[in-house]
């Protein structure tokens, strides 16, 4: 496999890693909307908010990895 191909695969993997927390953030935000719209226990919303915060950090790390990969 050429080095170019390896490079593309690696980049795809890094992008996949960054997209995963974004996906969790999106779903947790949808869950919070449901909780608020339907008067559900606020604990669920708080848990989802914590997860969003955590996933924002993960996403940031993944983006940093992409930058480092590009620079390296």
């Amino acid at each position: 496999m050429s080095e170019e191909n390896n490079e593309a695969i690696m980049l795809n993997k890094l992008v996949h890693d960054a997209r995963a927390p974004l996906n969790r953030i999106s779903m947790n935000a949808e869950l919070i909307k449901l909780v608020l719209e339907n008067d559900m226990p606020k604990q669920k919303a708080l848990e989802a908010l914590d997860k969003i915060i955590l996933n924002c950090q993960q996403c940031s790390e993944s983006l940093q990895n992409i930058t480092e990969h590009n620079n390296g």
């Binding site: 992008v15 996949h16 997209r19 995963a20 974004l22 996906n23 969790r24 953030i25 999106s26 779903m27 947790n28 949808e30 869950l31 909307k33 449901l34 719209e37 339907n38 669920k44 989802a48 997860k51």
Partner: protein
């Protein structure tokens, strides 16, 4: 309700999707790999599979092959983070395979699971006027109320709202606030819900370290509602020994935080509320007279719902319209249902009718546009309240009326047994018969 299998190795994502899908009214199971998905299909069938494209032990497409092999054909939605997957699927020409792109949204899930939303029939705008942005009703008592709100809104007088529980005191407070067009916010506080120790801090705020647990400085509700409106609900439930502090703030328009020594000027209209009657206030010493005159510069009586029954259809339509908007449904009332609502006394007032409509809304078949009212509109509270209300004696009743009521209540209690009723009433059976004859009501208890 669909039986759904979600195949995704991201456990946290799966967990949230489960919550959402269950809320949408479906059953959902999860698998984190192709192997687990195969196991689920050994003993189960599913209507729909939400399938991640990249799994730890292979591609999601392998599951499609496996399903063909075992002769199952659930609807499949492949979930991937790459738009190119859509192209691959198009080439496969599989009619029951769809595609969703990450990050997902709830609408995406709703669309693939429930199909395109039925366009709810646009109910004609009902044309119900919402007075002052919060009040509904065109009856005479409400028109009087609107006039009073309009008048008092132009002044900065303190208002005391009196009315039965559920009559809408907080909504009227909101209406006055809206009509006042003041700059500050409406801040509400329930004096009945606060302990004696905390009420000072809630109303006037506290300085850091004022008492154990006062870890930071806190603004009280008087400060928070500066240039706005302060709504003090259940003001008559405030401990009487705290009332002089409130009086001082009302008189001086200055507040001193607990543990502080600086006087902070406040400028807010105080709207207080109580569900006690004026006579109750006067007789039971629940509020100091000086405070009453400060708070009730402009007292407003909110009419109970039974005194404005003509507003019931308007309220019912407005509440149902709101529920339809929130839930994308298109339920509507039949005229006989509105009459049924109008015939009931609603001792719990607007709060009770709102609750009853919400309950009926939940119970109704979402596939139909007809709302189903329960056989009995009474809530457990209204039943108890009704009974107590029946037993209440009020000034203006004649002794004969009260006696008649007591005799009937006793007879009801003993299922019409006159000997027993006479014993309970402390009169002879003959006297009881005489009384019943005089009321002309003996037939009921024969």
């Amino acid at each position: 309700m669909l039986n759904i299998l979600l195949v995704d190795d991201d456990v946290e994502f799966s967990d949230v999707v489960c919550h959402i899908v269950e809320f949408l009214g479906h059953n959902i199971n999860t698998a984190t790999s192709l192997k687990e998905a195969h196991q689920w299909f050994e003993n189960n069938t599913f209507d729909h599979v939400l399938l991640d494209f990249m799994l730890p032990d292979g591609s999601g497409l392998h599951l499609l092959d496996h399903l063909k092999m075992i002769g199952q054909s659930p609807k499949i939605t492949l979930i991937s983070g790459h738009p190119s997957v859509k192209g691959i699927l198009a080439e496969m020409c599989e009619p029951n395979v769809g595609h969703l792109l990450k990050p997902l949204q709830r609408e995406d899930l709703e669309l693939v699971l429930n199909g395109p939303k039925k366009t709810a029939k646009k109910v004609k705008p009902s044309g119900i006027t919402c007075h002052f942005g919060s009040l509904i009703g065109e009856s005479e008592p409400m028109q009087k109320l609107y006039t009073m709100i309009e008048r008092v809104a132009k002044t900065n007088a303190n208002v005391m709202l009196m009315g039965e529980s559920g009559a809408g005191k907080e909504v009227v407070a909101q209406a006055i606030h809206n009509a006042s067009q003041c700059e500050g916010p409406l801040v509400a506080s329930n004096c009945g819900a606060l302990s004696k120790e905390l009420i000072g801090s809630e109303l006037f705020g506290h300085e850091k370290g004022a008492f154990t647990g006062a870890i930071a400085r806190k603004e009280g509700v008087f400060e928070q509602s500066n240039d706005g409106t302060l709504f003090l609900d259940e003001v008559t439930e405030m401990p009487i020994d705290m009332q002089p502090n409130l009086l001082r703030v009302l008189e001086t328009k200055k507040v001193t935080r607990v543990g502080g020594n600086k006087e902070i000027p406040t400028n807010c209209r105080v709207i207080s509320a109580t569900n006690r009657s004026l006579i109750d206030l006067a007789q039971n010493n629940v509020i100091r007279e000086d405070i009453y005159f400060r708070l009730a510069v402009f007292p407003i009586d909110i009419p109970p719902l039974r005194d404005r029954k003509e507003d019931i259809p308007l309220l019912a339509k407005a509440f149902l319209e709101q529920l339809n908007d929130e839930n994308g449904t298109s339920f509507s009332w039949k005229s006989e249902q509105l009459k049924e609502l109008q015939n009931y006394e609603w001792p719990g007032n607007v709060r009770e009718i709102r609750h009853a409509i919400h309950r009926a809304f939940i119970m109704s078949d979402p596939q139909s546009s007809e709302i189903t009212l329960p056989d009995n509109l009474e809530s457990p509270f209204s039943r108890v309240n009704n009974k107590t209300a029946e037993k209440q004696v009020s000034a203006g009743q004649t002794i004969e009326e009260v006696e008649k009521e007591l005799i009937h209540a006793t007879l009801d209690k003993v299922q019409g047994n006159k000997t027993l009723a006479a014993q309970m009433l402390g009169i002879s059976t003959k006297t009881l018969y005489n009384r019943l004859n005089a009321y002309g009501g003996i037939g009921e208890y024969k």
